[in-house]
Symmetry: C2
Subunit: 660 residues, 2 copies
């Protein structure tokens, strides 16, 4: 195997090169250097693609045919179906059918217990529609955009960068006799397409005389297209509203009341489960990129000077698969590291962030994610928002590759600061000292007369800027200019018993549709050698239906037993499904397997005689014989996890295997 | 008390008169007769209002001061707060804070168990955004409107009918010397305002020369304003979408897949819990009329020829408070009637509808609604949508009067029919006969030549209409015209084993915000003589927090006990709240009462000695002494309803009452 290229090493090269490209772009490097770096990146990506194909599919992923079988099952059993299907559907919208609805409800209930209940987080439910001021302040109105051009004839819209890339490609295909230098001049435009400003890309469009595909008509100037859905609120139509693109903002807006609810104490966390909406230009099939989706988010507010977590000791020794930013640029492999070590060595920025990585890890384990196909990938420095200090994505390996299913970001105090500034509502926590501490205070006493003579009309602006200085050193500096001030303000020492701070925010944010996709893919298999017999191995506590009741045939003698079993399970609070159809028992098992029902109870002719039933475990297909009077309690224990299948095997006689 | 006017009788008169007004309007009666009927209605309403005021507030409702105390509590304890509060809020939008979030989650979980789980309903979760075709077909694009006029200067919008009413009132105030006949001519315009068409109201506006209030500028022509929020879907902006005004449509769109999921069998029901959006012109304070709200709806599909319900026998003997349409027009009182009698006597149209009334009744009882302030009010014939056959509102008496909190409508086959027609997708159930039945079949065999000569260009239209005839009698009739047809089509008898039908839909639909408001109002009280000590008597199974842990003081000796209790309750799966603040125990009880925590466990100095704690029941404030080792299990049993407080009182010594 010495000739096999190391894929991990290749991935590292791609990552490093990608980081370099972003770095060059951010620094505003000359287009030629960017082009060179991008070319190298393209080469590396191609190589990685080729080598991945050569070495075959990942051994742990779904095969192509299994993926097809899964997609077929999800649709056929009404887990996930296209919305408005009878009208042809609309890209990026999906409905959840009965089994997925129950699965999602169970998953969210468990999320709530695991995160909210266990850590006594607060919870809010805010509106989906929000007035413009909220999302203008958060930055979404300005930043949540792609550049669009519009055909002046048909009105059809195009992403400007994609159009430019296509145009350059066509141009070069048609003009094969260009010099190398000329070719590169054109290629640069394609390379830079994504990072051009509206003015820049407009100039390039004019240079090429790019027209609308299809019609050949003129194109409008490039305009930024915001991915938020916009509506008018109220009858006047003058109030602009947006469907929220994330649930987080509602929590920030309620910070003051939440703080009060928490008796004024920081740290505290607040969760929200709800919908978010993004008007994606190219939604993908399935739940990975949709226009309406569900999020479960936590905003954990901490003192920026102390991001320790009270329960960190409970996860300190837990090992996590961490793909650090350093590793992404060296060997490209995730390494196992305990939370304690990761924080100590500065790999994870602080305890609170590490605590939530650990909780997420345990959550994934409990909902049946394959822990061999999960990692936490740290954002590279070039990747993070300017205000963020450390970010880790939960990535799960799916058939389409590693997919981000949750994010964990230390967003610093950005959101609270901008909303506080815009709304003029103070959003601070208070740190009470154990005993009063000595502080230097500098007070600004401007000499307005002197200032007026010197600065004239600018006095008001300067005074405002001076008053806004919060840093004592900066304030002291302002006094250096004796011309403007009455004299140097004396710094004096005073005793203070508390200090105010704008809390930092640690944000674990889960995409529920993506997590469900992961649960589907990691729990799907087909029975040996039979592509048509799909099995969903959902963990019993999130399975949509817990137990099936399966009479061997539709013989009326079985009916009273089926009714009795149903009553038993309803009393135990277990969702059950009775299959009284006339199909063979093997077909009934297959149906139950497709819905991921973990346990099946069969009624046969012996049941009529001795009141014993057969209990079947879905994944092993092993069956035992259990008395009717014990079956309710036993299945209940199995579902709630207070008994294991091994214990059942010890207690009840195994049924000699019958080919299903 | 012989001088006291019978309010119920007065209400009957108002109802009868209201029905007559609607009837006149629907029949297109001359404006004078409508005016006369409306005047009489106004007189009766005034009399009712005066008499109600004279006889004082309803003895069972909240007093004004208690209502104020409740509103204050809901805001202060962050049950329900205005959304975007730091930016001044927007009418009709509210956020749920931590206690209401948990309460709502518990209520919805219970709704799901009570309706979905117990009756094995299917469940779906569809998108909030829907393309225009869906809501155009359902009728919402055309019907969900109010008439608006717009100021040509300021752009401000007004409801045309309200503006006209105000104008007439002002006009009459200023022109006191009009003859009776002239006055009435003007009054008619105000009376008819609500029912004018855009053209009619425009003519009246011109007649009066009505200008915009404030600016005095010209007004636009009246245009219908749709209450749905409109957005563009996709980057092109050409696809119109709406936020759904009800969750029901998503279920209808999925009918075919749901039917298949249910193995092709009708009846079956499908539920959906989700948001709905209405751009109300005048939202009210509180959760009663908001722009974004949550619904829980069931669509129960039945054979229109057989609306019996398999589980009807389980509710047959349950007595319901029914305010029938007859009673609304006679004595105005709700009467107690068993479901069985109501269906037998034709008071409730069918078993399926009655079954759901009964289930709703039991649901309300379980969530703590005062059953003395609840009734089912039947829609008058003039009130129902044209396609509906019988409707019953669940009405709950709140401080603002009787409020509709859920509807139960037999919507016949309207929705499925219109969607099937528009989408060309067949939406039918199949009724398989026990044995084949004889049917008369009439086949249409048009003589196209003859028809062409007679009808010329209209032949295609006539053929289409003929083929669409489903009723055999109508088809036979079509053959009467021998001119157009080859001859009378012979009707012949054939044996059929099944027949197709478009299912009727029974729809129970709950407004969650309104139900929560009812839960708040019916469970709020103040401790005797102390307006400031509010108590929320939530039923333990929906209470947001189940138990409070209250150390007598912040003495460190209590800390390990508080921690132990918290651990115990978490293990039992019980939401608990530990109050380690330094306030007096009475204050701690008061705080717990405001959040509706049903049980409180106090740690005192005796606990340190003998490991016994005090267990307090919220509503009676009675306390017993329970050993620490038993407290987890006992509270768990109380919350889950497997033990009563009376049983606890029998088993444990009562603590001598201390004034709280």
């Amino acid at each position: 195997m010495s000739t096999v290229v190391d894929l991990d090493a290749l991935r590292v090269s791609v990552t490093r090169q990608g980081a370099q490209v972003r770095d060059l772009k951010q620094k505003g490097a000359v287009a030629e250097s960017v082009k060179e770096a991008v070319d190298q990146l393209k080469k590396l990506k191609l190589e990685l693609e080729t080598q991945t194909a050569l070495q075959g599919p990942a051994k742990d992923g779904l095969s192509k045919s299994d993926k097809k079988a899964l997609d077929d099952l999800l649709l056929r059993k009404m887990f996930v179906v296209p919305s408005f299907e009878i009208y042809g559907g609309v890209g990026g919208f999906y409905d959840f059918g009965p089994p997925a609805c129950a699965l999602k409800s169970n998953l969210l209930q468990f999320w709530r217990r695991h995160f909210v209940f266990a850590d006594k987080l607060l919870e809010v439910e805010c509106t989906n529609l929000m007035p413009e001021v909220v999302l203008k302040t958060s930055g979404h109105v300005d930043r949540f955009t792609d550049l669009m051009v519009k055909c002046t004839k048909s009105g059809e819209c195009y992403r400007a960068d994609k159009l430019l890339e296509d145009h350059v490609e066509n141009y070069l295909d048609k003009h094969t006799n260009l010099s190398q230098e000329e070719r590169e001049k054109h290629e640069i435009h394609a390379t830079m397409a994504e990072s051009y400003s509206p003015e820049e890309i407009r100039a390039v469009f004019q240079e090429y005389g790019i027209k609308a595909p299809g019609t050949g008509a003129d194109l409008s100037s490039p305009i930024p297209f915001n991915l938020m859905f916009k509506c008018a609120i109220g009858p006047e139509g003058g109030m602009v509203g947006y469907l929220r693109p994330e649930t987080a903002q509602g929590i920030f807006l309620n910070f003051r009341r939440l703080l009060e609810y928490n008796a004024g104490k920081v740290p505290f966390g607040c969760a929200q489960i709800g919908n978010a909406f993004r008007n994606e230009i190219s939604p993908r099939a399935g739940l990975l990129r949709v226009r309406e989706f569900q999020q479960a988010e936590i905003e954990f507010f901490v003192n920026p000077k102390d991001k320790s977590h009270a329960k960190f000791s409970t996860v300190k020794d837990l090992e996590l698969p961490l793909l650090t930013k350093t590793n992404q640029l060296t060997h490209g492999k995730a390494v196992q590291m305990t939370c304690g070590n990761a924080v100590e060595q500065g790999v994870i920025a602080n305890e609170s962030l590490a605590y939530y990585l650990a909780r997420t890890y345990l959550f994934c384990k409990a909902i049946g994610i394959d822990m061999e196909r999960l990692r936490f990938r740290q954002h590279l420095d070039t990747e993070m928002a300017h205000y963020a200090t450390d970010c880790w994505d939960l990535e799960i390996k799916l058939s389409s590759g590693w997919v981000e299913c949750a994010g964990h970001a230390d967003r610093s105090c950005y959101d609270l600061s901008v909303h506080a500034k815009k709304s003029n509502v103070e959003m601070v926590g208070t740190h009470k000292f154990d005993k009063p501490e000595k502080r230097q205070i500098v007070e600004i006493k401007p000499n307005k007369g002197k200032m007026g003579r010197t600065f004239k009309a600018d006095v008001a602006t300067i005074l405002e800027a001076l008053q806004a200085l919060t840093d004592d050193v900066a304030r002291a500096q302002a006094f250096e200019d004796e011309l403007a001030f009455q004299g140097r303000g004396d710094a004096w020492a005073t005793m203070v018993s508390e200090e105010k701070f704008v809390p930092s925010v640690i944000e674990p944010s889960f995409g529920i549709g993506r997590l469900l996709t992961a649960v589907f893919e990691h729990n799907f298999s087909t029975r040996e050698g039979d592509q048509k017999r799909g099995v969903m191995s959902f963990s019993p506590h999130i399975a949509p239906i817990k137990v099936s009741v399966l009479p061997l045939s539709n013989n009326p003698a079985f009916d009273p037993f089926a009714a009795e079993l149903e009553r038993l399970f309803v009393e135990e609070g277990l969702e059950c499904k009775v299959d009284t159809s006339s199909v063979a028992i093997g077909r009934k098992y297959a149906r139950a397997d497709e819905l991921g029902i973990p346990f099946g109870v069969t009624i046969d002719f012996d049941t009529v005689k001795d009141r014993d039933v057969t209990l079947r475990e879905r994944d092993s297909t092993v069956q035992v014989r259990v008395p009717m009077d014990a079956i309710g309690a036993e299945v209940s224990k199995l579902v709630r996890g207070s008994a294991s299948w091994e214990q059942i095997l010890e207690r009840y006689p195994k049924v000699t295997a019958v080919a299903e």
